[in-house]
């Protein structure tokens, strides 16, 4: 007790709802008619994605793959090559913005934009901590599932607009894949929503908090929750076009899939969108099944680990850590497994994941109704 009291005194900014007050004040900041505060708040996730994509996403992927493959990875730019991604981005910015002459210019230009917006909009409803959520919608989960579908439009626009046969193949494959995998993914998330009794992302997180830490997470709250958890994880890999489901951009088959013709900053935007969606699905799976911003550490008698590691900033720490963990698993899989074939991918979706998703849906419903 005394230790926790000390920690509360010495680290007051980690505790309480100070951030709430700050963000409320910031949200109210309006210069004449222009809601500057809201714009700044909306920009925070964007900055976060950009930073994360720079530091962890691309650099981490390169380093992790390098260590898995007995290499060193980037080592030249900065200590341990930490500035490599920055150098790459600078290089991409300097590149000439090429639009192929025979391309549909409008679709070609707007494709990466839609793609980026699609993956970025879902960040609005992710609760990053008890005190911070961009838009506290009561249908947050539904919105997150729905808005990701927007990416399909961007991919199709990019693939069709490029006027390249490989791009078209990539786009068609991608659309078929994403549209199919949304079904098991949505049903699996519905299991989590049923356990929470709400679609509100913040409420889903709140329902998983408690003094026993991880024991309150939905993954450990019912004996069948691992099934939707696994189904959603697999489906999310397919939705973000990550290996072993990266057939839309299978470099050995389709050169680079729907972004074959892209270069320079447009290519960087597509890249950013991909890493953005990677984090988004990782955050969603952590929120629905692993407690989101809740600390996984339990209170052990007087050693109140849970209480010490809870709070707005701790919450952000936990959800980002959980997200990064899943991103690490995604990378791990990518650098280990070969790629599935198109028909095997569809087979897996429609004949394995979807039926099992329905089974887990029914079992979760029974569990929720009959088990108190």
């Amino acid at each position: 007790m005394s230790v926790s009291a000390i920690s509360q005194i010495s680290l007051p900014f980690l505790m309480g709802n100070n951030l709430n007050a700050w963000s409320d004040a910031l949200a109210g900041l309006t210069i004449s008619w222009f809601p500057l505060g809201l714009v700044i708040i909306a920009a925070i996730p964007l900055v976060f994605i950009a930073l994360y994509a720079l530091t962890y996403g691309v650099y981490g992927e390169r380093k992790i793959s390098a260590f898995m493959q007995d290499r060193l990875g980037p080592m030249e730019v900065g200590k341990w090559g930490i500035l490599q991604t920055l150098a790459d981005i600078l290089k991409l910015l300097q590149k000439e913005d090429i639009v192929p002459t025979s391309a549909d210019k409008f679709l070609f230009v707007i494709g990466p934009g839609i793609l980026f917006v699609g993956s970025f909009l879902a960040f609005a409803v992710l609760p990053f901590s008890p005190a911070f959520i961009g838009a506290n919608l009561n249908v947050g989960l539904f919105y997150a599932i729905g808005i990701v579908s927007l990416e399909v439009v961007g991919i199709l626009a990019a693939g069709w607009g490029s006027n390249n046969k490989w791009s078209l193949y990539g786009a068609v494959r991608s659309v078929a894949q994403i549209v199919s995998y949304e079904i098991p993914a949505a049903i699996a998330l519905l299991c989590g929503a049923m356990m929470a009794g709400t679609l509100d992302m913040q409420q889903i997180s709140v329902q998983q908090s408690g003094p026993y830490g991880f024991a309150h997470f939905f993954l450990f709250q019912s004996p069948i929750a691992w099934l939707p958890f696994l189904i959603y994880f697999i489906a999310s890999l397919a939705e973000t076009n990550r290996a072993p489901f990266d057939i839309p951009e299978a470099e050995s088959e389709l050169v680079a899939g729907y972004f074959t013709e892209y270069s320079g900053m447009k290519f960087a935007v597509i890249f950013l969108a991909e890493y953005g969606s990677m984090f988004m699905v990782s955050a969603i799976i952590s929120i629905v099944f692993l407690g989101g911003w809740n600390s996984p550490l339990p209170n052990l008698g007087s050693v109140a680990l849970y209480d010490w590691t809870s709070g707005p900033v701790w919450g952000a720490f936990w959800i980002i850590s959980k997200g990064f963990f899943f991103i690490f698993v995604q990378m791990w899989l990518r650098w280990t497994l070969p790629r599935l074939r198109v028909d095997q991918l569809m087979y897996l979706c429609w004949k394995v994941l979807t039926p099992f998703a329905f089974i887990s849906f029914v079992l979760t419903a029974i569990w929720e109704i009959y088990v108190p």
Binding site: M68, K165, A243, A250, S252, E253, T336, P338, R341, Q344
Partner: protein, 400 residues
């Protein structure tokens, strides 16, 4: 691949039927699209161009176009003297330079009818088998990349690097060796070479197992390759396939056994042929498997070479290298088992010149690739990539 023909409503085509994966296209006749795959495509292993007619994802026909890497090897041979051709042969199958040189030297030696020192023969066997392992490592690694597994590729290259270092130590070059000369070798192997090779063999044996676990036994890898691109043994023989391709179809044919040359009759090794338990005989997985198993056989051969090799006392690697190569008038065909199959050299001499009148290389890759049109019919695009990868072509040898 089976055709069910015309049904009542229209044509139904079943592309494949293996463990529940069936592709049925029913009454959806759309316009076919011409898809030019290569010469700058990541999975054509160089500058092969395939003109595919595609019906959705199904390739209805694929026509290989060659010649993007044509360097007039055979014409060059007619203006270069016999020893001068050796470095050119390196550049054919640049992943297995030693084996190429050897095949050429066997042909010229047959024409000259000269006796080769025993130690030279063992050195040749050893460096060629090392090169065979290196070549198979590239084949297996790039096959992994074709199927989307990136990591095995780098594992393969890590191990290949050790072989290249050894060969560089012996010959001074990493890929284009010019080491095996007509009648001998350029240099004797360095003093500790055999010890280092032994170290490499001990290091590499567990790595083969690791590769096996990482790639060959991977469920997705097996699903992608099993039952794909099946080539029956009789058709393979009619196409004059050779090497791992033919052995993948279940024919136990290896020139090191069936037409023995050098000291291979003294060496004890198996010729791996798929038994049909793990893979369907003649499919892509069988061909991959043959390569994976052959690496271990090569390790056995290398070990035997180390123990049987005569000492270097009073040994001159160039003792039987002729000062001036001017064979009697006549012709010769000699062949050797290369990593990719039978490499044969047909050489014609007019008896007056120090240059061959005609030098024809029978390229294994070229012959193996000729079946591409048959193999690719009705396959999906990802399977087409898997089939090209399993043929393991080196365009340097295809085009020469």
């Amino acid at each position: 691949m089976q055709e069910l023909g015309m049904a009542e409503q229209g044509s139904i085509r079943v592309s494949r039927k293996d463990d529940n994966v069936v592709v049925i296209e029913k009454d959806l006749a759309t316009e076919e699209m011409l898809l030019s795959m290569g010469p700058q495509h990541p999975s054509t292993h160089g500058v092969l161009k395939l003109e595919c007619m595609t019906d959705g994802e199904v390739v209805t026909s694929a026509e290989p176009y060659l010649g993007y890497l044509h360097r007039c090897f055979e014409k060059h041979c007619e203006v270069v003297d016999y020893p001068g051709i050796v470095p050119y042969t390196d550049r054919m199958d640049y992943l297995a330079g030693m084996n190429n040189e050897w095949a050429y030297c066997i042909a010229v030696e047959k024409l000259l009818d000269i006796e080769i020192p025993r130690r030279v023969e063992f050195i040749r066997v050893m460096v060629s088998e090392l090169n065979r392992i290196a070549s198979h490592l590239v084949a297996i690694g790039t096959y992994g990349i074709d199927l989307g597994a990136f990591t095995p590729f780098l594992f393969c290259f890590r191990d290949r690097e050790h072989i290249l270092n050894l060969l560089e130590w012996a010959s001074g070059a990493r890929m284009l060796y010019n080491y095996i000369w007509i009648g001998g070798v350029a240099f004797d192997i360095p003093a500790d070479f055999n010890k280092r090779v032994k170290e490499f063999v001990d290091y590499f044996r567990p790595k083969v197992v690791e590769l096996y676990k990482l790639l060959t036994e991977n469920e997705i890898f097996v699903k992608r390759t099993k039952g794909i691109g099946i080539m029956p043994a009789d058709v393979a023989i009619n196409y004059a396939w050779s090497g791992p391709m033919l052995r993948g179809s279940g024919v136990q044919w290896d020139l090191r056994r069936n037409d023995p040359y050098s000291v291979y009759p003294e060496l004890d090794f198996n010729i791996p042929v798929p038994d049909g338990k793990f893979s369907d005989i003649g499919d892509c997985l069988s061909r991959h498997l043959v390569r994976a198993l052959e690496m271990e056989e090569s390790l056995n051969i290398i070990e035997q070479c180390i123990s049987k090799m005569p000492g270097s006392d009073g040994f001159n690697p160039r003792s039987s290298v002729p000062k001036r190569v001017r064979p009697k008038a006549g012709e010769v065909y000699a062949r050797a088992e290369n990593p990719r199959g039978e490499l044969g050299f047909y050489i014609q001499s007019d008896g007056k010149s120090t240059r061959p009148l005609r030098c024809k290389a029978r390229s294994s890759c070229f012959v193996n690739l000729s079946a591409m049109k048959d193999l690719s019919k009705g396959q999906l695009i990802p399977d087409l990539v898997a089939i090209i990868g399993s043929i393991d072509i080196v365009l340097g040898e295809v085009d020469r």
